[in-house]
Amino acid sequence: MDQKRKILVVDDEPDVIEYLTSLLEDNGYEVRTALNGKVAMELVKDDKPDLICLDISMPEETGVRMLRNLHDDDRTKDIPVIIVSGVDPKFKDFISHRKQVNPPSAYFEKPIDKHEFLNAIRTILSGIGIAQ
């Protein structure tokens, strides 16, 4: 049997965590969750995920900070990140052109279209191997 792909969901909203976890698990992924960027970075270092679904506005540590932390560490800089956020769509252009962070692999504005979301994950993960 194929090894399940690991996805880390980071969002300060418990309902979003619950939703994305159920959605992704129902579609055959293994899901880890974190309510803020700080906890998420610890999880990433502990058990490297194949993909990260990241919110931007979070009280403890924002998604932008987490993107920088991922970018600054050689072990984590290649992990694809999908932004799932309620912030202004203009943010997509902004974050895609920063030198300090890798451009996100995809950008989804809340509320998401779950089919498009799952398609994007499948496409991104089909291009890379399983995380070690």
């Binding site: 309902d15 979003v16 939703y19 959605l23 129902d26 309620g86 504005e109 809340k110 998401i112 779950k114």
Partner: protein, 495 residues
């Protein structure tokens, strides 16, 4: 020893001619100078038997239309201003010397040097006409007796018209007229007014009035100097409008962000519910149902808080005992706090007197602060956390204080504290509570102060200067205020 009349006559006959502060010359019909005093010689040089136009104007022929010579024709004395050498100004007095037959045989020309006075007049004239202000001189009936061109260009013809007609196109004097005050007390006064220019456009100006005789209450004229501040006012309005639009934009963006998050929760609830039905999993169905309910509650609180924040309501001030407001809040939150293991106490508040407050507004402020304090305690890992409400009156200021030993705030949170839709409570908060509190406190002329340490707790203090509260209270009574029956009933319970 008294001076004898004969001696005086001798002095007048021999000395006065040379002692007078005037340049005097006696001139005949042929322009020849027959006699002159010492001052005339000192100023114009040797002049006897020379022609007056040679001496005074360095001309070789008589001046065209010579004023002085007219006295030979009509025998009349005359006075006029004469410019000599293009830089010196003299007041010339011509007196005829008449023979017994009534014929003018000589004229006496007396020249008074008025160069300094003339130059000062010129300076005043330049100032009067060239300064970028509107200047007028008005009499006690507010009639303009003199005005500069600038004033006429903007407000239209104004001589002998009332100043309020010219500046405001009104038919009666202004209520807060600074000129009237200057006539009364002889002092300078300033006021800001709105007028109407000749083309019908609104003109904002600051007017400074100064009596022509300072310090006297019976002066006849007052000078009004108006500075046009229309452009500043327009810029100020544009800036306010830009700020308002920016605030609206920011608010709408924040609102959209919050709604998107709630919609995501609703979508999640629907997914959990439908997938639970498909998979026949009651647990999942229950989770989905809970998520839907939670997010409906969130929408309700968002709408409620947003309306409370956006409501443009003037504070309805009544004399209330602040202790009663605090008691009500304690009563409201006591059981909730107890149920979740938080001690809610009240600090002693001696010497606090009734003050003009908007009971509904203060109730909202305290509710928001207590609710935040309770949430901060819940987010802390401490055992038996507590929230305290205090009240004190010191140095003309009334203080409401809410302190907690909850999770406290770090630098980032403090920076965003009064930002629209900023919340540390995830989806639970709307990010409008402190903003609404701040708005209400500002409407009372007060301010919010806070100290906080991450992990230790926070203290929020609302400070209301009592004199400001009383000013607002008197204003609202003078203008009829916004007080109405509904508000009276609403506020009726506060002691």
């Amino acid at each position: 020893m008294p001076v004898k009349l004969e001696e005086l006559n001798v002095w007048v006959a021999t000395k006065l001619f040379n002692e007078m502060p005037l340049n005097i010359a006696v001139i005949d019909r042929d322009y020849g100078i027959c006699v002159s005093n010492e001052k005339f010689v000192q100023r114009f040089g040797k002049c006897i038997d020379r022609k007056c136009y040679e001496v005074l104007k360095q001309r070789s022929e008589p001046c065209v239309n010579c004023e002085a010579m007219k006295t030979f024709s009509d025998g009349m004395a005359r006075k006029y201003e004469e410019c000599i050498n293009e830089a010196e100004y003299y007041m010339v007095n011509i007196i005829p010397v008449v023979d017994p037959g009534g014929n003018t045989i000589r004229i006496i020309s007396m020249l008074e040097d008025i160069t300094d006075i003339h130059n000062r007049q010129m300076e005043c004239e330049i100032f009067f006409e060239r300064v970028p202000n509107y200047i007028s001189v008005i009499d006690r009936d507010f009639t303009i007796v003199r005005a500069n061109d600038n004033l006429r260009d903007t407000f239209g013809e104004c001589n002998n018209r009332k100043c309020y007609e010219v500046y405001k196109k009104k038919h009666r004097a202004c209520e807060n007229c600074p000129a009237a005050l200057s006539f009364i007390d002889g002092q300078e006064h300033t006021a800001e007014h709105v007028g109407m220019s000749a083309d019908g456009s609104i003109t904002y100006y600051v007017v400074k009035t100064s009596p022509l005789i300072k310090g006297y209450d019976n002066c006849r004229y007052v000078v009004e100097i108006l500075t046009d501040i229309t452009e500043f006012k327009m810029l100020e309005k544009e800036k306010l409008e830009a700020e308002r639009l920016a605030a609206v934009g920011q608010t709408v963006a924040g609102l959209a962000h919050t709604i998107k998050n709630i919609l995501m929760g609703v979508e999640g609830g629907m997914y959990m519910l439908s997938s639970g039905i498909e998979q026949d999993q009651k647990d999942r169905m229950a989770k989905g149902w809970d998520m839907l309910q939670r997010n409906i509650v969130k929408v309700s609180s968002l709408v409620k808080d947003f309306l409370s924040f956006a409501k443009g309501r003037k504070p309805v001030l009544q004399i209330i005992d602040p202790n009663c407001l605090v008691d009500e809040i304690i009563e409201l939150y006591e059981s909730t706090a107890k149920r979740i293991g938080i001690t809610l106490t009240r600090n002693p508040s001696d010497g606090v007197e009734p003050a003009p407050l908007d009971a509904a507004g203060i109730h909202t402020c305290l509710t928001n602060l207590i609710s935040n304090a309770i949430d901060a305690c819940q987010m802390s890992s401490k055992e038996n956390p507590s929230v305290r409400i205090g009240l004190k009156q010191e140095n003309d200021t009334l203080y409401f204080e809410v302190s907690d030993d909850g999770c406290g705030m770090d630098y980032d949170v403090k920076q965003k504290l009064f930002t629209t839709f900023f919340t540390t409570k995830g989806g639970k908060g709307t990010g409008l509570g402190l903003l609404t509190t701040n708005k209400i406190v500002h409407e009372h002329g007060g301010k919010i102060l806070y100290t906080s340490e991450s992990g230790k707790g926070s203290v929020f203090t609302i400070a209301f200067p009592l004199h400001v509260l009383y000013e607002l209270y008197n204003e609202s009574r003078d203008t009829g205020g916004t007080f109405n029956e509904a508000d009276e009933q609403k506020n009726g319970s506060h002691c």
